[in-house]
């Protein structure tokens, strides 16, 4: 319940919220956990495996118990730690992992069968029948054990990712971190201070402590005011540094809008930061650890330091009668603060035999708590004192087993911590993260004075590495109260004593693992699942290792600790993938004819990042095939216009440009005459085909290469590699001009007449023969005309600067329509090229060689080229390789789906008998039949053979005849006009 005074809450305002539908209220400054405790809500969740009632255990991001679901519908957010969730008006929280209700959970029956459900139970029990694991056991177990559930709907919330850069990253805003930031800020360094909480101060927010003779928070406020006034210091609150990566890069999760009732629409829920820092100081403090004893998971049992947080920071009394149990002096502070707040302390139990106190309360030195009683909430605590058993009536118990420095981040680059016998804790090993200093409690210094001094020292070291001078400093006076821990991990006794509350792992489970020879910490962890819950064992790891050490007869140092890996706290995938929804998935590349194509109702399809028109439907056409057939006919009989700007265009110049092309292409370009273009094939380093295209020579040392749309980037990268790495001394200058030019194919018997009209000049063979190129001018705009064809017709490609693209496209389409033709899209383009047996990346798919594609004659025997040797390996030239062929159906079925496999007629249609496969197919309106391209073992030698095509997915079976790859005009008479 709420104390009548004190705390850092704003009592002038009430904040109403609901928990499991019950209306409750708290104050600004509360977390959901503190407000629940203030409202007397002891049970906040059910445990993972045994469905035992659980209460708030900590006051920070290490919380293992108090996980709740916030909100409803698509905005539902499971597994929110109540200890981190700031309270806001209208917050709706639901308990998790219970049915039908939190108070009455049917699956608590698991707790009765606990003896059967220990570590390794699943592995031993659900083995037979083997197949049942996947469809029966695993789903059943997952339903019973677990956490909150996602909504199953697309996430409507915005998230973001961002970058930050600084000289010094300070991780943690407690006394040490603030001191680092202050010193570094004064020295002029660019500082980022990240703190997980919504206000900096660290432990000082929760302790009764003085700095410089005044309440510690006054020093914090003054320090923050000074930092906020500095332009070179950036304080990032609600930001948890989650990981350390190479080269001084850190990941951090900022909870941006989770604390607001009315979040402005575009304001993100979370922001995932990538912070690049020259130096860093880890001042992440320490995490308190519990002691294991029977039923130590009962609601009302919490960490002693957390109890001080609720008491001092949130003005919440944890109960009417509180027992405090610890193995160190810090526990005494909890008793002291409880007394000061007027809370009845039933007893202070100190496991250290010689311990003393001057507090006015029942004190038990050399005593241990052996059991917590009460199911839905603590009722009594049994203690074993040197003089016998005592039972204390208590509804709350504070436990402290000591503190573990938060050294997690120092281990992210494979560093291992070192064991301190004095502190009974692992300490960070210096220098394991380049450029990182560790300060304060994170390095095992547990006094405020020590933390301030340690912060100043770490700042000094960091500033030195940054080449900045250290400003003078008078360290303020602060508390130097000792800590004096004597290790106690688990109290001996019967019953189940919890180590890992989040995953329901007990002392017994760890001992069982050891007895079954899972003696390594990593094996024990995986066998018992200790430390594998969302809290990653922040509270339980060391206790479990200590119990394992005891069970295996080793000390903790020799037993070691499991590996700490990022992220330090759970990071929503939505934050990691922020910006990737919808149009954020990938950039869209639009051609200059895009708007016009949309205006013509063309459905757009993606080609890499590009969007290209599929076909241009006309009135009355109900099916894409009707449009496609018409567009093919336009090209074959009149004239068609297609935007081919997406093809890669690379400008090559320099003294060695021709020689360079000879090197990268399998065929020769140095002999190409100015004003002429040539087809070329380019190989990858492994001897397979990378790409093909035409390259034109437009000056003595000037070429323009075209690539396929799909491989434009890959080819550019390859050429850069060759020029920079393989022949760095050659004078070749490369630049992509893909975006500079809008280029349109004008194809069909009337293409010449159309262009002669547009350009007002003669385009006869004498003026521009097949594979020729020339500069042109359209109304003062300079462009270029190529006579090349991907349709097998008399065809041209006309290029103008991109700003004129839309205008030229519209004009060309208009002129084509006037001649009985029109625009054609990707579907028709594909049909036209299959009819001619021309290749695309359906055939150049990365596993085919020039030999497979029937392009071996393009591999010049008289010169060297990249990967000539690789491509000449016998295995790549074997006659029985799968080689390019044409296919046509000869039986009743006319279906030839791409991807289908080819079999000899008598063979069973199984993988071992596959003779080849189909890569491209279409209905040819020109020929009136289905035609296809594919690859077949010894293909070209099997022309005329009949094969059985089987598509196992679409259940097609078709008898096909193997034929030549060119179905139309094999002599090329149409192309040459």
């Amino acid at each position: 319940m709420r104390l009548s005074k004190g705390g850092r809450i704003d009592r002038s305002r009430a904040v109403s919220f609901t928990f499991d539908g019950r209306a409750l209220s708290g104050h600004p400054g509360d977390t959901l956990a503190s407000a629940l405790l203030a409202s007397g809500q002891k049970v906040v969740g059910r445990s993972f495996k045994y469905h035992r009632p659980r209460g708030v255990f900590s006051a920070g991001s290490e919380e293992p118990n108090a996980l709740v679901t916030l909100g409803a519908g698509a905005r539902r957010e499971p597994n929110v730690r109540a200890t981190m969730q700031e309270l806001f008006d209208g917050l709706e929280a639901q308990s998790q992992n219970c049915w039908p209700s939190l108070d009455w959970d049917l699956l608590e029956v698991n707790d009765l069968f606990a003896d059967f459900l220990g570590a390794g139970f699943y592995y031993k029990t659900f083995m037979w029948p083997r197949k049942a694991w996947e469809w029966l056991y695993e789903p059943a177990i997952r339903r019973a054990a677990g956490l909150g559930a996602l909504s199953g709907q697309p996430d409507p919330e915005p998230n973001e990712k961002a970058f930050a850069h600084c000289d010094l990253l300070v991780i943690g805003g407690g006394p040490a971190g603030l001191m680092v930031a202050l010193q570094a800020g004064r020295a002029g360094a660019d500082v980022i201070l990240c703190d997980e909480d919504h206000e900096p101060g660290g432990r000082l927010l929760s302790e009764v402590e003085e700095i410089a003779g005044a309440p510690a928070m006054e020093w914090v406020a003054a320090t923050l005011a000074e930092l906020e006034a500095m332009d070179n210091v950036r304080i990032m609150i609600r930001t948890t540094v989650t990981g350390v990566y190479d080269q001084g890069t850190f990941g951090a999760l900022e909870r941006v809008g989770r604390h607001m009732k009315h979040r402005p629409g575009p304001l993100p829920l979370d922001c995932f930061w990538r912070i690049a820092a020259k130096a860093s100081v880890l001042a992440a403090g320490a995490l308190e650890r519990p002691v294991a004893f029977q039923d130590n998971d009962r609601p009302g049992v919490m960490l002693a330091g957390a109890m001080r947080s609720y008491l001092n920071r949130y003005a919440v009394a944890p109960g009417d009668a509180v027992t405090v149990f610890g193995n160190n002096d810090d526990a005494h502070r909890t008793a002291r603060d409880l007394l000061a707040a007027g809370v009845h302390v039933a007893g202070l139990v100190d496991s250290r035999p010689g311990a003393a106190t001057d507090l006015d309360l029942p004190f038990y030195a050399g005593a241990q708590v052996t059991r917590a009683s009460g199911r839905m909430g603590l009722e009594a605590v049994s203690i074993r004192t040197p003089s016998g058993e005592v039972k204390l009536q208590s509804d709350a118990l504070a436990v402290s087993g000591g503190w573990n420095p938060s050294l997690h981040l120092t281990c992210h680059l494979n560093g291992r911590p070192e064991w301190s016998e004095t502190l009974a804790a692992f300490l960070p090993r210096p220098g394991v993260v380049p450029g990182m200093q560790v300060a304060g409690a994170a390095t095992g210094i547990f006094t405020t004075a020590g933390c301030l001094a340690s912060g100043a020292e770490a700042a000094g070291k960091a500033l030195e590495t940054l080449g900045l001078s250290v400003p003078p400093l008078d360290l303020p006076q602060a508390g130097e109260q000792g800590y004096g821990v004597q290790p106690l991990w688990a109290v001996a006794g019967n019953g189940r004593a919890w180590l890992d509350l989040a995953n329901d792992v007990t002392v017994k489970d760890v001992r069982q693992a050891a007895s079954e020879n899972f003696r390594s910490v990593e094996h024990m962890k995986r066998y018992t699942t200790q430390g594998m819950a969302p809290d990653q064992g922040k509270i339980s790891n060391l206790g479990a290792m200590a119990v394992l050490a005891d069970a295996t007869g080793r000390d903790v140092a020799a037993t070691g600790i499991t590996t700490y890996r990022p992220p330090y706290v759970p990071v929503p995938i939505a934050a990691l993938g922020a910006g990737g929804k919808g149009k954020g998935f990938a950039p869209e590349r639009l051609t200059t004819s895009h708007a016009q194509s949309l205006a013509m109702s063309a459905p757009m399809i993606e080609a890499g990042l590009w969007y290209r028109p599929s076909y241009f439907p006309r009135t009355g056409e109900k099916h894409w095939r009707q449009s496609c057939d018409r567009e093919v006919a336009h090209v074959r009989e009149a004239v068609g216009v297609a935007d081919v700007s997406t093809l890669g265009k690379i400008d090559l110049q320099g003294r060695d440009a021709a020689r360079f092309l000879d090197l990268v292409y399998t065929n020769t370009f140095s002999t190409l005459k100015e004003g002429r273009a040539r087809y070329g094939v380019m190989l990858r380093e492994d001897g397979h085909v990378m790409d093909d295209g035409t390259t034109a020579r437009i000056g003595p040392e000037h070429f323009v290469m075209t690539t396929t749309t799909a491989a434009a980037g890959e080819v550019m990268g390859h050429l850069e590699f060759v020029s920079q790495v393989l022949v760095p001394g050659w004078d070749v200058r490369l630049i992509s001009v893909t975006e500079q030019w809008a280029q349109f194919a004008v194809a069909g018997p009337q293409s010449r007449a159309l262009l002669e009209e547009l350009l007002g000049r003669d385009l006869s063979d004498a003026a521009l023969s097949f594979m020729g190129t020339m500069p042109i001018e359209i109304g003062g705009v300079e462009g270029r005309l190529f006579r090349i064809s991907f349709s097998g017709e008399l065809a041209y490609e006309i290029a103008v600067p991109a700003r004129y693209g839309e205008s030229l496209f519209t004009r060309l389409v208009g002129m084509a329509e006037a001649r009985g033709g029109g625009a054609y899209g990707m579907e028709a383009l594909n049909v036209l090229r299959i009819e001619k047996g021309f290749l695309t990346h359906a055939e150049l798919h990365g596993r085919t060689t020039a030999f497979d594609l029937g392009l071996e004659r393009w591999m010049s025997p008289s010169k060297s080229f990249i990967c000539k040797a690789a491509a000449s390996r016998p295995g790549l030239l074997a006659e029985d390789r799968e080689r390019l062929i044409g296919l046509r159906p000869v039986g009743a079925s006319k279906m030839i789906p791409p991807g289908a496999f080819l079999f000899n007629e008598g063979d069973e249609a199984v993988r071992e008998n596959a003779q080849g496969y189909v890569t491209s197919s279409c209905y040819s309106p020109t020929l009136g039949e289905t035609i296809a391209l594919g690859f077949l073992k010894s293909g070209p030698e099997r022309i005329g053979e009949h094969l059985r095509l089987v598509d196992h997915l679409r259940e097609a079976v078709t008898i096909c005849e193997v034929c030549e790859t060119c179905f139309l005009d094999p002599e090329g008479e149409r192309t040459r006009g």
């Binding site: 973001e160 850069h165 304001l267 200059t592 110049q653 500079q740 003062g780 600067p801 991109a802």
Partner: protein, 184 residues
């Protein structure tokens, strides 16, 4: 006068696209842009550029500007002459390639500009790393682009013309998200 045969069109509607939190997204006009690639050694280009355009050749990551135009470092062995038509006399010192239509330029200016860019590019945008007049080739929202600091709070972004709409969309969305932080 007769209609021109072909009409020029910018990839995006030119001018102001969004203003929020005193921060402006402005689609710039298409200037004349010529890529200059000097090949091995750049002394000849530096001399010719000074002589014919009064511009010094910038260092890597730099930009040199005058009333007449600017020369922008544009990657390994590449410079971009922006503004004037290139003097034909440069041709002896460098390979000239027309790029006026290949890039879209957008200006982002205002107090939130840096915060917007921090969400779109991994570049260090602090004064020490990117002072006035500095330029970089980098990723801008998954696109390869060019970023130049043209004022104390002003940045010119360039991406391929075909990606102009994506750039504008990303900039608008991000500015809205950043501006919404003012409610925090």
């Amino acid at each position: 006068m007769a209609e021109p045969m072909l009409k020029a069109q910018n990839a995006l509607p030119q001018g102001e696209a969004l203003v929020l939190g005193d921060t402006r997204i402005d689609v710039l006009p298409m200037p004349r842009m010529t890529s200059l690639m000097p090949g091995p050694g750049h002394a000849a280009l530096a001399k010719a550029l000074r002589k014919h355009h009064g511009l010094d050749l910038p260092d890597p990551g730099g930009r040199v500007s005058s009333d007449e135009g600017e020369c922008l470092w544009f990657g390994l062995g590449q410079y971009m002459l922006i503004g004037p038509a290139p003097s034909p006399l440069l041709a002896g010192a460098a390979t000239l390639t027309e790029q006026s239509d290949a890039w879209t330029s957008v200006l982002l200016e205002g107090p939130l500009a840096r915060q917007v860019l921090a969400r779109l590019t991994p570049l260090d945008l602090r004064d020490a790393s990117l002072p006035l007049g500095a330029t970089a080739r980098s990723e801008i929202a998954h696109m390869m682009g060019s970023l130049t600091r043209v004022g104390s709070e002003a940045f010119r972004l360039m991406v391929f013309r075909s990606m102009a709409q994506t750039l504008l969309h990303e900039l608008k969305d991000t500015l809205e998200a950043v501006a919404a932080r003012q409610a925090l």
